[in-house]
């Protein structure tokens, strides 16, 4: 069995015009998150995307001390072929293995980028449930949900240009169906997070900034 992001229907070629290799878009959501974290003396970040020099440099310049965990979760999950999606406990085991942080670990900011578009509901809910334990009231989660019918075959790579702009890098010109999660879906899968702000971009992405409210 493989993760559902590999079980999805065959990707199809992008309609003309094809996706560009890279483009720069403004990001109100990231700017909101940035304004919440800047000025802190210490910052603890969980980045579910890839490691980039520019992102590390930008975040390190925001604070005096930076602790960041970089997971590249899509890449890691794609390499798993022993996961049984019918067994809910599999999620816990996999996430425990992938996020082996100490009980005292708390993140100020989680960068989800566009990863959530590539997880099915059970997978996403399991991920959020696992990450709950590493949040404190006020932890921010930045995520980009596509409202388009199709999304790139693989997650976009995002580089921070500055506090207001992100560079999108497309790794494939193929497309796949988008789950098109709505706010109600996200609320159901992320019961302990409350919407802080959201913005719809012209490129079809809706940027969400969530704030962790604590476990009741």
């Amino acid at each position: 069995m493989r993760w559902s992001l590999l079980r999805n229907p065959e990707p199809r070629p992008a309609p003309e015009p094809t996706l560009p290799e890279a483009e720069i878009h403004s990001s109100v959501g990231f700017n909101i998150a940035y304004n919440q974290i800047r000025g802190q003396r210490k910052l603890s970040v969980l980045d579910l995307g890839s490691a980039y020099a520019s992102n590390l440099k930008f975040l390190s310049q925001c604070v005096r001390f930076l602790h960041i965990e970089i997971e590249d979760l899509y890449d890691t999950l794609s390499s798993f072929d022993f996961f049984d999606p019918r067994e809910p406990r599999s999620y816990d085991a996999v996430y425990r293995y992938l996020f082996p942080y100490g009980e005292e670990t708390r993140f100020d900011l989680i960068l989800g980028w566009d990863l959530f578009n590539y997880l099915e509901e059970l997978e996403l809910a399991g991920l959020i449930k696992h990450l709950d334990r590493f949040c404190y009231p006020g932890t921010l989660l930045f995520s980009m949900i596509s409202t388009n019918r199709y999304i790139p075959e693989r997650p976009i790579r995002f580089r921070i240009v500055d506090s207001e702009r992100l560079r999108y890098e497309y790794l494939s010109s193929l497309l796949r169906p988008s789950p098109r999660y709505h706010r109600a879906d996200l609320n159901r899968m992320m019961p302990h997070f409350q919407l802080f702000s959201s913005f719809r971009l012209r490129n079809g992405f809706k940027e969400y900034v969530f704030s962790f409210q604590g476990r009741s």
Partner: protein, 188 residues
């Protein structure tokens, strides 16, 4: 045909005064000269254990265990494969490393480098093209607490069973003590 009375072919003149270059004999050089050099662990060398020393080191071989070079520079070459916790003043990684890497001043992960583990240093630089998964602690940490203990994952250093000398002056290999973290899953 050659004429018998033809002159002999010219022989290049040798200046008997010109001194011959001094033979390169490292044994005759002092300890200070030796320490200025960078020790090299070649691509065909495999070390299981603890490597420590007082001179700069370039690793092109494989090390599993622990690597400690206080006040020295450590370079993991493109062919270097390290599964160990590492400590040095300046660390540059061009090969593959798995473990906790602690730099007194700076860690640079080059474009050809790949790291799975923890990077801890006042300054960490990721170059374009590098591959990294794990945690980074960088900047001024005023806390008395060790940075890695502030929230990082546990070290995944390598298991080792035997000691081997790398054969470089100033570098000592000892059996490793770190235990390998076990994965609940088979390898992908």
């Amino acid at each position: 045909m050659w004429k018998k009375d033809s002159p002999e072919p010219a022989i290049p003149a040798v200046n008997p005064i010109q001194p011959e270059p001094a033979p390169r004999n490292p044994i005759q050089r002092g300890p200070v000269d030796r320490l200025k050099e960078r020790a090299i662990i070649g691509a065909a060398i495999v070390i299981h254990g603890e490597v420590s020393g007082g001179q700069d080191l370039l690793v092109n071989g494989r090390i599993e265990g622990k690597l400690s070079l206080a006040n020295q520079s450590l370079t993991v070459g493109r062919e270097g494969r390290i599964k160990a916790d590492m400590f040095a003043k300046l660390i540059s990684i061009e090969g593959d490393v798995e473990g906790t890497i602690q730099g007194e001043e700076k860690i640079v992960l080059r474009g050809t480098g790949s790291v799975r583990g923890n990077l801890i240093a006042p300054q960490v630089v990721l170059e374009e093209g590098c591959r990294f998964k794990g945690s980074i602690d960088m900047g001024d940490n005023d806390d008395d607490q060790e940075p890695a203990a502030a929230g990082g994952r546990e070290s995944q250093g390598a298991d080792s069973t035997a000691a081997a000398a790398p054969g470089s002056p100033g570098v000592v290999a000892e059996p490793a003590r770190s235990a390998q973290a076990t994965s609940p899953f088979p390898k992908a």
